[in-house]
Amino acid sequence: MALEAKNLTVAFEGNTILKNVNVSFSPGKRTAIIGPNGAGKSTLLKALSSLNRKYEGQVLLDGEDVREMGRKKLSQRLAILPQGAQAPADVTVKQLVDFGRFPYRSWLRASDPKADREAVEWAIERTQLNAFVDRPVIRLSGGERQRAWIAMALAQKPEILLLDEPTTYLDIGHQLEVMNIVEDLNREYGITIIMVLHDINHALQYADEIVVIKDHGVFAQGTPKEILTVDMLGNVFGVRADVFVNSKGISVLSPVSLVK
């Protein structure tokens, strides 16, 4: 098991957000975490990625408690792209991506410039940002900017990449662009993807596995086919949906009305 949560309980100022969550993420797979607003998806992602280390229970990476690993050691294996990241106005794409090498640098140990350069170039290549390397991140379009942040995470050379709603605020074209990059990273390099998605149809199209979070815990886990059903949408989101088969042969769900 690559990454797993064991009896994970997260409370914030007295409110329990996740309670006794047990979930494991298969290595090399793309897993989508879905669920209604406020169910604790982002909270789960933050605990999994050590952005928040104040929880009960354990998060294990290959059986090792992540809180007992060094932060930088962890960041060399696991990268997280949270929502709403912002860079100072003059930081260029290249500089931003280079920040992804931070986990490999320290006061005592000189960094390996060749490895740094290769990782940065690879990350820029994979996110198709070659044309923008010297442009300030703040001046990119929404889709390009999101790719730049993904590139920074890739420069960490992670085994596992966690993404929190990576397509929020993007138009449908840029949404697919980002999802395709994520899919390619998984297919070509075997990077385990764990992503919170709000679009059910993205989950259907791009995930191997679905984890549904509801009422402070895991409501269901399985393949998109098993999980993403009309019944589930009714139970979890209170939405009645129709099913269509699209031209790729994938069943897509279209919300029609609220369940009364």
């Binding site: 990625s49 104040k54 912002q86 920040f99 931070f102 986990p103 006061w107």
Partner: protein, 334 residues
Amino acid sequence: MEVKEEASNAVLVRRIFVLIIFAVLAVGGFMLSVGMGSVSIPLDEIITVIFGTGTGTHEQILWNIRLPRTIVAAFVGINLALSGAVLQAIMKNPLADPHIIGISSGAGLAGIIVMLVFPGYEYLVTPVAFLGAMAAAVVIYILAWKNGIRPVRIILAGVAVSAFLGAGISALMIFHSDKVHGALMWMVGGLAARSWPHVDIIYPYAVAGIILVMLGARHLNILQLGDEIAKGLGLNVELTRIVMTAIAAMLAASAVSVVGLLGFVGLIVPHAARLIIGSDYRFLLPGAALLGAAVVMFSDTFARTAFAPTELPVGILMAGLGAPFFLFLLRREL
């Protein structure tokens, strides 16, 4: 990729060029400050005196008056500018400065208590002010602590504590209005009669501070990306914030305890340096330090020569000239 490499190099060349300009400004400010005054001393004589072969009254003036005062000015500029630059990264707020962590109000009240309530102990102003500044910073830290430090809570706690201490300062000035002149000079900040003992007080903090903040430059760069990104990159955000705030507090406290509340340098210089050199702290920190030294040395020279024999407190001059310049920079940027 050739073209792209060139573009990146151009940024580097520009930054180094700006650093050189700032260094030239600092050296120019030093020479001017040492050379100008009621007796002006030519450049070649300054150099011979500094390298130990000068003689006569000019040597006396340089060694006993001008040099120590100029060195204090340079260190004050460096310390306040570095402190402000560090706090701006930590608070993720371009308007953060040493005021925010209570340095000015803490040093102000402590210094004024000594001057007004215990006027026989004026020689204790500097150490007591230093303790007052650090104490105020610690109190603000404790008040802002709640599962770690958040910039917004520091800023709010800082505003509240500063207002509280400010009330104490005002009350003391009103009750001791007969002795208020020295206290007013202290509140504005000035370099009059600063000499070697003051150099001895400030330089260890300056040297230690410069080394420590430069070691933290890459960490500050990461911190500017926000807490979550910084944590994701493996930075211990809480620890970095505490350590760097402590260093910033120490730098600013050593400066204001020696010259009084010269607050504005800590806000304007790092901000100006950032607009000119960019947000990369590996360049911004040395840039701010050089610019801070240059600004205080130039300002002090002007303040003591422009209306001679009357000396203007340098704090008044810097705020008077600095504020419009600051607005000019901002207008151009926005």
